[in-house]
Subunit: 137 residues, 2 copies
């Protein structure tokens, strides 16, 4: 359907991408690997630029997630979708330890997740030369 003055296909893509990313986080949290796998393209590529690691293909990426050690829990802090791209800001928890993750997604024309780029930023000590501008929490 074509509505004048409005790109309906693009709106649908954005909603579909947003839904896929929420389902990715939720199915991983529930260890529902069948649902998780159904969201992925067969040739999905997963990258961790901090360690320069790359995993190719649905089967290896599923294995990586199923085998990931620890009683980890994921919760979406924010999901931002824009056509066939999306980003997720995730609260990852193991016991009482929280770490934030920033995840970048690309989706195929069929709405399957085709690329995932994960960042796991660690805490660090701030420099002292900006103390006059900042507050700490």
């Amino acid at each position: 359907m074509s509505v004048p003055g409005c790109n309906v296909r693009r709106m649908d893509e954005t909603s579909e991408s947003r839904r896929a990313v929420h389902a990715y986080i939720d199915s991983a949290e529930r260890r529902d690997w069948e649902r998780f796998g159904a969201l992925l393209a067969e040739d999905v590529v997963y990258e961790m630029p901090q360690t320069r690691e790359r995993i190719r293909g649905k089967s290896a990426f599923l294995r990586f997630n199923m085998d990931y050690p620890g009683d980890w829990h994921l919760q979406a802090r924010r999901v931002v979708a824009d056509g066939r791209h999306a980003a997720a800001w995730i609260d990852a928890r193991v016991g009482d330890e929280h770490q934030d993750a920033c995840v970048w997604f690309e989706l195929s024309g069929e709405g399957l997740i085709s690329r995932v780029v994960d960042y796991w930023p660690d805490p660090y000590d701030p420099p002292s030369d900006r103390e006059h501008l900042v507050e700490r929490w």
Copy 2:
């Protein structure tokens, strides 16, 4: 204007947010602090969760950026906008050293940047127990 079957206002917000984030990166790269400041809400809040630092208000946040040491350069790797939220994946370079940044934005009803959350993930060594699944680059 209301177009049936399509939320035009939402489309406009997304475009406006996307433009503001591109302008934020570009004006910082050019040290165009007048343009950079014009993108910010007066009560903008800037947070760096890794150091638990927070800066409040346009004036302090401008000063922080103007004073930031080094011959740094910023380039957008990806901008994802979704209504009044956006995320930017940025390549930050000082000399030959590159670091990725993940930045989360909130925009006011007027399209001004009202919240910025910056992550600067550092490289680290991967564990050895997933070598059978990954390739390195």
